[in-house]
């Protein structure tokens, strides 16, 4: 099997057994990036020389029997994580030349465990988008194709570059961040596994902020076990993030393949929403049957405020974004456009530095926080957010985990759904509620739809019960036997 087709678990075993070297493994990926990235645009910045140097160190560690969990494993890093000495752009013009002098906690944890970074993956600007079309560095192409149709499809967003890179074999795994679905929805669109941990599980230190009460880092990989391996490194308490939770990190890999006998799986009625495609509804039903066969008890539940999740999100997230992005003022870092006065400099800088979607969200947020409108919009949204969380809390008194679709449709083509912001926002209808409530959730690919595109199902768990997600996710993965690969991939590419 080609080195770019291996899972992280198999590659780690292969490295230890000296079947191939870290240098060979990393080179296979940097070569694949050189061949395919000009088309897919999954990476904004590639670091092949640093990766190969790190691979040499990994080989030395392996030779001495000092391998760590991720030694020699090539990973992509979403370009929202600050990486010491490596340009970090958030896919925005305002940070196009920003080189952080420090490392984010999540990437530092991965480096501690031996991971090799091959580059910084593309995303929607400041993680604001659902199709990876708002990047200042151009859109990402989904490596999957509809049957008999070469149209460029979107990879989902905002972690679209990470999802495309992992799907195409340009990384064995990648970091993502998820604010309203930005790990799970692109994972579903690209046929990979993506896990958004409980809010507070992974440190936000050094991750460029979008909406701080929602942002959470998580792993994206080609198997449930690989996500468990990555999360093991990424998770953990960090004094530098005030919302980081001081709790032990369990052995996530031990949960993979765990028996599901007696597990209660909730099926929320409200996710049978308008706009749910027939093929995804069928995949959902199939998932229910698989979990039943694995020994689960299926329970109908109700999350009555589901339909208000998106509208709540599009008040809370822009409000936090308008506050977080106030720091880009052309003064201390980032690009500056000169003006005759300080205010003129700010206005020119922020007009030139931010793209239309980011400007729109900053303005929405500014409005809902402005005098006279705060109670009507922001306070109201915070109250509805409480009700959304209460729905989950009450459901989790009856069931252990929820099963839903990840997105209402498979990937769509570049250029579709771009006229009306609200239509684009609807892609996140099933992922946003768990984000609002801070619950962990994961997307697992379970099959191909009628047009040959991957379909994902979402599992939502209790706070800090990522293990049940991994256990149920691995049952779905085994039952589905999802071995399909995208049309554009490293294997065989020259």
């Amino acid at each position: 099997m080609s080195l770019t087709e291996l899972t992280i678990a198999d590659a780690a075993a292969g490295l230890r057994a000296r079947k191939f070297s870290a240098t060979e493994l990393v080179r296979a990926h940097t070569d694949a990036i050189a061949a395919l990235n000009p088309r897919l645009n999954a990476y904004i910045t590639t670091t092949p020389d640093a990766a190969l140097a790190a691979a040499t160190h990994a080989d030395a560690a392996l030779a001495k029997g000092e391998a760590k969990p991720l030694t020699g494993i090539p990973l992509g890093i979403k370009d929202l994580f600050c990486t010491n000495g490596v340009r970090t752009t958030a896919a925005s013009n305002i940070l196009k030349n920003f080189v952080p002098p420090y490392e984010s906690t999540v990437t530092a944890n991965l480096l501690r465990d031996g991971a090799v970074f091959v580059g910084k993956t593309n995303l929607d600007e400041f993680a604001m988008g659902s199709a990876n079309i708002t990047s200042a560095f151009g859109p990402v192409e989904n490596p999957w194709k509809r049957k008999g149709d070469d149209a460029a499809l979107v990879p989902g967003g905002s972690s679209g570059g990470s999802a495309a890179a992992v799907a195409a074999g340009l990384a064995m795994g990648a970091t993502g961040t998820d604010t309203g679905g930005s790990i799970r929805q692109p994972a579903a669109y690209c046929g990979i596994v993506g896990l958004k941990p409980t809010y507070g599980r992974c440190s936000r230190f050094g991750t460029i902020a979008y909406a701080s009460s929602l942002d959470q880092a998580g792993p994206m990989a080609r198997s449930v076990r690989d996500c468990a391996i990555m999360l093991q490194s990424m998770a953990g308490f960090d004094v530098r993030d005030s919302t980081s939770v001081n709790r032990d990190v369990p052995d996530y890999s031990a949960a993979v393949g765990r028996s599901l006998k007696g597990l209660k799986v909730g099926i929320p009625a409200e996710y049978r929403a308008e706009g749910l495609s027939a093929e995804i509804e069928a995949a959902w039903q199939q998932g229910i049957e698989w979990l039943k066969a694995a020994g689960c008890e299926i329970v109908d539940v109700s999350l009555p405020h589901t339909k208000y999740g998106l509208a709540t999100y599009y008040i809370v997230a822009p409000a936090e974004c308008s506050s977080n992005l106030a720091r880009y003022d052309g003064l201390r870092f980032g690009e500056r456009v000169e003006g005759p006065t300080l205010d003129a400099m700010y206005e020119a800088t922020r007009r030139a530095g931010f793209g239309p979607e980011v400007r729109r969200r900053i303005m929405m947020g500014t409005y809902v926080l402005s005098a006279g409108y705060y109670d009507a919009y922001y306070l109201k949204a915070q109250k509805v957010r409480s009700l959304i969380r209460r729905d989950f809390t009450e459901s989790f008194q009856k069931v252990d985990v929820l099963l839903t679709p990840t997105a209402p449709t498979p990937a769509f083509a570049q250029g579709e759904k771009t006229d009306d912001p609200v239509q684009m926002y609807l892609n996140d209808i099933f992922t946003v509620p768990a984000s609002m409530a801070g619950m962990p959730a994961m997307s697992v690919p379970v099959g191909l739809g009628a047009t040959g595109l991957p379909l994902g199902l979402q599992l939502i768990g209790r706070p800090f019960d990522e293990e049940t997600l991994l256990a149920a996710g691995s049952a779905l993965e085994s039952a589905a036997g999802f071995t399909h690969r995208p049309a554009i991939r490293a294997e065989g590419a020259k």
């Binding site: 208000y308 003064l331 980032g334 000169e338 005759p340 006065t341 729109r360 500014t366 409005y367 912001p421």
Partner: protein, 95 residues
């Protein structure tokens, strides 16, 4: 609630985002579309509901009041768009 052009201009000013007059109609339409859509929250009865300000998993904690970082002026200034010596620069604000 519908935003008029003057309000859109005021929001842009508050957000310190420069806009051209030619941007106004499209921006006004988009913002009104979003605001119209979020009006659905008016259906929800939130009487007596406590606003959620965070997920509440982490308790606020204190730390020792000690210096943990510093002596990195050059690193701090390394990304400044227009640093002069050890200083940030801004356009003149006092005539």
């Amino acid at each position: 609630m519908s935003l008029d052009p003057a309000t859109v201009r005021r929001i842009a000013r508050l957000a310190r985002i420069g806009i051209d007059e030619s941007d106004l109609p499209a921006l006004q339409g988009e913002l009104n579309g979003i605001l119209g859509w979020v009006e659905q929250l008016n259906e929800v009865d939130v009487e007596g509901v406590t606003p959620m300000v965070g997920t509440g998993h982490a308790a606020l904690r204190t730390r020792d009041d000690v210096v943990t970082d510093g002596n990195c002026r050059d690193a701090v200034l390394s990304n400044a768009p227009d640093a002069v010596g050890p200083f940030y620069t801004v356009p003149k604000v006092v005539e």
